[in-house]
């Protein structure tokens, strides 16, 4: 079919997802059909969508207008390179997640499988539509559809009150965010009443309104992404959701918010002011530091990952800020560098965070346990999951040669150029921001070691863990796919940048592809080889060869003998699993060093305690500083308002009477 454009194919993919979803609802209890046919089918569609956008990248923008929508604002769709990059992300990440999900969903857990199948695929389709939407209405429909379907997925286990609460918080903040986005669109139409994106592009906004639109978008999309201070839903919702859903939300959905921010700030607003970048950067830094610190002190493995997602979103916001700053000063080459870092990190995070969340899913299935304090030593029972999780952990810690490092490296490179900025304050502050980014990256390593070490290594903390089983074939396939993506993104940066550069070029007018291509596929040198270069493959191969050669040599020159024995107990007899660090113990240094950042409730044992125990509960300051006061305020206003309805008919009549009198006296045509 030669006349099917990529945008048509993507539309078909969205429809296919919807069809798959509705197919599930017709056999809601037929688990075999749903998990072994529908979910793999969904994964297949996802791969196709990813491939479609891969072939499209670099191509000319395509548009379509659908028959549905409002009478004078039908759904406009548009596939350009920016959308395509994110469709790529969506397709490839969700393929792995869908395959995993095929093996994950079981009978009798939460909602009926058919219902979940519907919600899951509607979620996918609406995310795709978000990326393709080219008018405010279609965007908002898709956006809220995404929020809604994911909300239902989050509350699958709705019998638990805390999960309901998490879902509520999630949908509420998503809704408030959506209001912000809608307002932002409204500002961008500049009163023209044209709510298609084309109409917004055509408007030249004065700086004040441009800034208003940007800030509203930052708030609105930030609420979805999990930027401070509207992040509170994220650590609640992610653990509540089934793992494939957490993976989808963290890996893909959060990126749609980044997509929206990019779309608004580089495409729709049309102007750019330097301090926007500073705002984004400051918010991003705060988010990143906050996220990573809280991630290190969590005792629930999914919460830990959720906070880690907040951190990554913060880094993305920093990259966005940097891009905006460079863009505002017309330093497009550097802006392109920062934006490449941004897009790359989106892809990388989609890969490794989905991978890690899926791993927690397997662990959860095998052990029924989310609390780090009751896990441990799972590498013995679940080698597949453990080794694949290691890839995610290394990438997530931002270490070479996997995907997380590439984006971090690009980001730091972009930071190094900030002294060229024609603004002395920025010159001073931006490098300090780079220092914070470095701190965040290092702390991420801490969090990841904690995660991996406590879940998979050490002794099993509970006897029941001996019964744990490894992931099934479908789950393994999904994990492998994502691990492979993580590896590919790690060692083939130039190739990947060759693809995503189309988006950068589209938004900024210039890209990195030419410089990158100059040096061959194995080497990443975004500006010039002299300035900075990175050859991940050499990296990987050297380490592997050094390890292997070392091993071979040692065996050849000496021997390979070994035996097993009990671990050395340092003279203590009690070296059971309880002697290991708990999750709380591991993060004790962090709590101590960064004490003011946490709101802690601690109980210390005293000498007189019959049964001494130590406990610590870490809470988010924002609850007490922002959300609870807000709730109290609303409540107070509400209490005031309800006095209107006091029950006395005489008073009611008086209202009516006074209204009439006031109107008669005051209102004049």
């Amino acid at each position: 079919m030669p006349d099917l454009l990529p945008i048509d194919l993507l539309l078909i993919a969205a429809c296919a997802w919807l069809a798959i979803g509705f197919a599930g609802i017709f056999a809601p209890r037929n688990l075999r059909f749903i998990s072994k046919i529908l979910f793999p089918l969904g994964a297949f569609v996802a791969v196709l969508a990813g491939l479609t956008s891969l072939t499209f990248l670099g191509g000319a923008t395509e548009t379509a207008v659908l028959l549905i929508g409002l009478p004078d604002l039908p759904f406009h769709l548009r596939l350009d390179n920016l959308s395509a990059v994110f469709v790529l992300l969506l397709g490839f990440a969700s393929a792995g997640i869908s395959v995993f999900a095929a093996g994950y969903f079981r009978q009798g857990e939460g909602a009926a499988p058919g219902l979940m199948c519907l919600q899951y695929h509607v979620f996918l389709a609406s995310m795709l539509l978000v990326l393709l939407a080219d008018d405010a209405y279609a965007f908002m429909v898709a956006w809220e559809g995404m929020a809604l379907s994911s909300f239902f997925l989050v509350t699958t286990q709705h019998r638990q009150a805390e999960i309901r609460r998490a879902g509520y918080l999630y949908l509420l903040i998503a809704h408030v965010g959506a209001i912000g986005i809608l307002l932002s669109f409204g500002v961008m139409t500049a009163g023209s009443g044209d709510y298609s994106f084309a109409g917004m592009r055509a408007q030249a906004l004065p700086p004040f309104w441009g800034s208003a639109a940007f800030l509203l978008a930052l708030f609105g999309f930030g609420a979805k992404a999990g930027l401070l201070p509207v992040h509170v839903w994220l650590p609640e919702a992610h653990p509540a959701a089934p793992s494939p859903v957490s993976a989808m939300m963290s890996g893909v959905m959060l990126k749609t918010a980044i997509y929206g921010l990019l779309r608004v700030s580089f495409d729709l607003v049309g102007t750019s002011i330097w301090w926007w970048g500073v705002v984004a950067m400051v918010v991003g830094l705060a988010t990143a530091v906050f996220g990573v610190l809280y991630s290190t002190v969590q005792s629930d493995m999914k919460r830990l990952l959720a906070y880690s997602s907040i951190e990554n979103i913060g880094l993305l916001a920093v990259a966005l800020g940097l891009t905006l700053i460079f863009h505002a000063y017309r330093m497009e080459a550097l802006a392109a560098l920062a934006m490449t870092a941004l897009l790359y990190h989106c892809l990388a995070h989609a890969g490794f965070k989905s991978l890690l969340f899926l791993c927690t899913g397997s662990v959860l299935h095998a052990t029924k346990e989310r609390s780090l304090g009751k896990l441990g030593g799972l590498i013995h029972r679940m080698p597949w999951v453990a080794w694949l999780a290691l890839a995610g952990v290394i990438a997530s810690a931002g270490l070479p040669p996997l995907s997380g490092f590439v984006s971090e490296w690009l980001l730091l490179q972009a930071f190094l150029f900030s002294p060229g900025l024609p603004h002395s304050w920025l010159n001073m502050i931006v490098p300090v921001a780079a220092a914070v980014v470095a701190l965040v990256a290092a702390l991420a390593g801490f969090a990841m070691v904690k995660f991996y070490g406590i879940v998979f290594l050490g002794q099993m903390r509970e006897p029941a863990l001996k019964e744990a089983h490894d992931a099934g074939p479908w789950e393994r396939a999904g994990l492998l796919w994502l691990a492979a993506l993580t590896l590919a993104l790690g060692v083939l940066p130039s190739t990947v940048i060759g693809f995503i550069d189309a988006a950068t070029t589209q938004l900024l007018g210039t890209g990195l592809a030419d410089q990158v291509r100059e040096h061959g596929w194995w080497m990443l040198a975004p500006i010039s080889a002299e300035r900075a270069s990175y050859q991940p493959l050499v990296f990987l191969v050297t380490i592997v060869i050094a390890g292997l050669v070392g091993r071979a040599l040692v065996r050849r020159l000496y021997h390979g003998r070994g035996r097993r024995s009990a671990a050395w107990d340092c003279g203590y007899v009690f070296q059971g699993p309880r002697a290991q660090d708990t999750a709380e113990g591991f993060s004790q240094p962090i709590r101590r060093i960064f004490e003011p950042m946490f709101r802690m409730e601690r109980h210390f044992p005293t000498i007189r305690d019959e049964q001494p125990y130590y406990s610590v509960k870490v809470e988010d300051h924002f609850w007490h500083w922002l959300y609870l006061p807000l709730a109290r305020l609303t409540n107070a206003v509400s209490a005031l308002v309800t006095r209107l309805q006091g029950g006395r008919i005489a008073i009611y009549l008086l209202y009516s009477f006074l209204t009439l009198i006031v109107l008669l006296l005051v209102a004049r045509p």
Partner: protein, 218 residues
């Protein structure tokens, strides 16, 4: 000013006076009688207008008012009072002198509001529009200040009287079909209210509407 115009103004003044009297009255039976008197005055006033202007349908209107407001409704109310054995409106929610003061303010407001309109009117009875509005407002005030169900209903009906007065004074009455419809509504309304009184008394052992304050926001 012609005699009929003077007569109409007189009747209007009587209606206003009766409205004040009702506002001050605490005995339920007297209240109903005052209401009947107001209906009668209204019917007479309409009759004068009809006679003066020769509008045929105003005779009908006057007859309707007479039957309904001066006879039928008071009769129903009397029966109700007897059956329900209520004689006193225990005490108004606001003290009577205060109510009267507020009433005077209301009259001033009504006159001022109605002034620009009555200047536009060409009817013989245009000056009474302000009085009509004032009696609507006074009836309203009465409803607000009464704590028993029956006085409240009387207030409601007195309001209708004011509205009828307004209709005749400004426009020589509404089209007949509308007037009939209004009359039907009022009649049915009073019957339903009558049924209500019994139900309320059954449920609450009283017609004091202060019992009816349970539905509220806490």
């Amino acid at each position: 000013m012609s005699l009929s115009a003077q007569l109409i103004n007189l009747f209007a003044a009587v209606i206003l006076l009766l409205a004040f009297a009702m506002l001050a009255q605490r005995r339920v039976l007297t209240l109903i009688n005052l209401f009947a008197l107001q209906g009668l005055t209204l019917a007479l006033s309409t009759l004068v207008v009809a006679f003066t202007t020769g509008q045929a349908h105003l005779y009908g209107s006057a007859a309707l008012t007479l039957v309904l407001k001066a006879v039928l409704l008071p009769w129903i109310l009397h029966r109700l009072v007897r059956r329900l054995e209520v004689k006193w409106d225990v005490e108004p929610l606001i003290k009577v002198p205060t109510t009267m003061l507020v009433g005077i303010v209301l009259v001033i407001i009504s006159f001022n509001v109605a002034l620009p309109i009555s200047q536009l009117s060409s009817t013989i009875s245009r000056g009474t529009l302000g009085i009509a509005l004032a009696s609507v407002m006074l009836a309203f005030l009465m409803m607000i200040t009464r704590s028993k169900a029956i006085p409240q209903v009387v207030g409601f009906l007195a309001m209708e009287n004011g509205l009828f007065l307004a209709a005749t004074s400004a426009t020589y009455g509404m089209p007949m079909v509308v007037e009939l419809g209004i009359a039907l509504d009022v009649l049915v309304g009073v019957i339903i209210l009558g049924v209500f009184f019994f139900q309320i008394r059954d449920q609450f052992d009283s017609l004091d509407i202060r019992h009816l304050e349970r539905l509220k926001e806490k």
